[in-house]
Symmetry: C2
Subunit: 357 residues, 2 copies
Amino acid sequence: MYDLWVNYPAIPAQEAAVSGALRGLLEGGAPLPAAYGPPQGAEAARRAIAPLLGLAPGQALALTCGGQSALSVAFAAALAAAGPGRRRIAMEAHTFPMARHFLALEGVPTLGLPMDAEGMDLAALEQALASPEPPGVLYVMPVVHNPLGLTYSAARLAALAAIVARHDLWVVEDEAYAFLAAPELRPPSLASLLPERVFGMWSLSKMVSLSLRLGAVSAPAALAEVAAEQIRIRGLTANPVIAAATARLAEDGTAARLVAEKRAEGAARRALAREILGTARFATEPGDSWHIWMHRPAGEAEADFLARARAAEVSLAPATPFRHAGGEAPFFRLSLGGEAERARLAEGLGRLARVLT
Amino acid sequence: MYDLWVNYPAIPAQEAAVSGALRGLLEGGAPLPAAYGPPQGAEAARRAIAPLLGLAPGQALALTCGGQSALSVAFAAALAAAGPGRRRIAMEAHTFPMARHFLALEGVPTLGLPMDAEGMDLAALEQALASPEPPGVLYVMPVVHNPLGLTYSAARLAALAAIVARHDLWVVEDEAYAFLAAPELRPPSLASLLPERVFGMWSLSKMVSLSLRLGAVSAPAALAEVAAEQIRIRGLTANPVIAAATARLAEDGTAARLVAEKRAEGAARRALAREILGTARFATEPGDSWHIWMHRPAGEAEADFLARARAAEVSLAPATPFRHAGGEAPFFRLSLGGEAERARLAEGLGRLARVLT
């Protein structure tokens, strides 16, 4: 089976980098970090990792045991800030399924808002805010959106920030794939525009290696304790040895080098997809992402299409789980991270091309 | 300040053991575990660690990013099993504060039940079960209770198991400190008596080292997926490198040796406490624990007593946070794990003796 499902951006060098950092930690002679530390992680590790994430001034950073736990802290802290009267969360109509699963588990009502190529439809957001039950929290992925791959325009983000400020919204800004966008080309983060209103989240596992299983969450500096308390009570504190190893990777430039290599590898893989598939079926411009939102053949049910792909030994991510409203739509997510070898990826894309014709 | 607050059972050898296991993993030549694995942790790691925990037949094990996250999974899975109609949790009237904090965060109503030297008062439990809002979940620490230090009698546990079965209760069995009791002397776990009704939890961080920040949760085999799904959605999966290192410590006998050393060190520290303080103020028999539930001088408010101790450079854990009902009671928790050196512990106990006279 050719894996065109997984969009994790892996490169061969990443695990050796983590091994090297752990070896350096063990050979450094200092005892392993072991005492009960602050729930948000050791100050030294947070300080080392913050620049890698582009932490905005006025924001406080906390480390967690993975990206999903970071996202859960961001949601829980934003909901606490919004208060019980504004517990509804507005999100993009296509969104990260595990975010919806967490909110469903917590019994939090959500609302999906339409998008165009520049980002969320702000008229729809204004309309939701004028409703009798206005949302109190906004969940967005402005840079390298999953599953759409798109990045918001700077103008759309500035207009969004103005609405947030006007309506006292709290924001969960998901930066899980944002590192794939070159910093000089991406729009400023909402956290940098509204540091007192935004909870950000990152996955060091995605930026560096899944062996780290390390996440990070930022909070307005005044609410750092709210986030730390969520981490403490839910038991989400990052492993201190892994945090220290990651701090080494951030400090000596290895993590930034891996990120740059992931960007370059992604560009090569997207070029391969364009070459083999053409762009006629691209539903959005993939930008800097390792996944592409694609049109599937008209008039065929999702299950039938996926079965046909599987028969051709191609595994694809269905569109349905990414849709806030549920139900079918004529799309699928093509992902370029599942095959370690570019040659295997090319073979899989070739098979997919035949499935799509 | 002499730390007589922290009850974490530390011994000098533990961090070197973790370093050794990580070194072995890195030098073994195999790549670091890095792929997306099952949320409950790699099968090989779980199989290696299960015997160390004494996993009961009929129970499935999952690893998590620490003891508190293991406890949260046990609660969430037990509540899911009990269903929305039986969402109340009965617990011991003296209990682990972080358990109450998690349940408060989740909005779960709780009920405290009195205890005697053999464990929970079963008449009080029967009475709660006959009430209009019977609890659906029972949270207990039968072996080396925190803060009381006591271990349930086998007879009390058998009677408790019978009530659980009769009333279709689900149980969260907290084994965080149970490893301090010699296996041949401890009563059988509730999980071994009722494997289809019990969610167990352990802290590898306590058994081995805080550098691991690794927890474990067990579920009835038929409900393993319920627990795994909670781990996945809350983002509580254990770090795969740390899990593999811990598996090595379990397989080569190092973890069992550390546990035995912690038991022996605890006995020596309790002997010191008996020698320096006498036992007249022991409110319960400490059994195998590193903490002792103590009477404080009559007629003095808790805050005044703790302030007097601090003035003598002794830091003690107040009783109030451990009380389900809240409010003062004439106790405090003396803990024997805060000072690394036994000589420092003896000095601190000497100062406490003067505070208590």
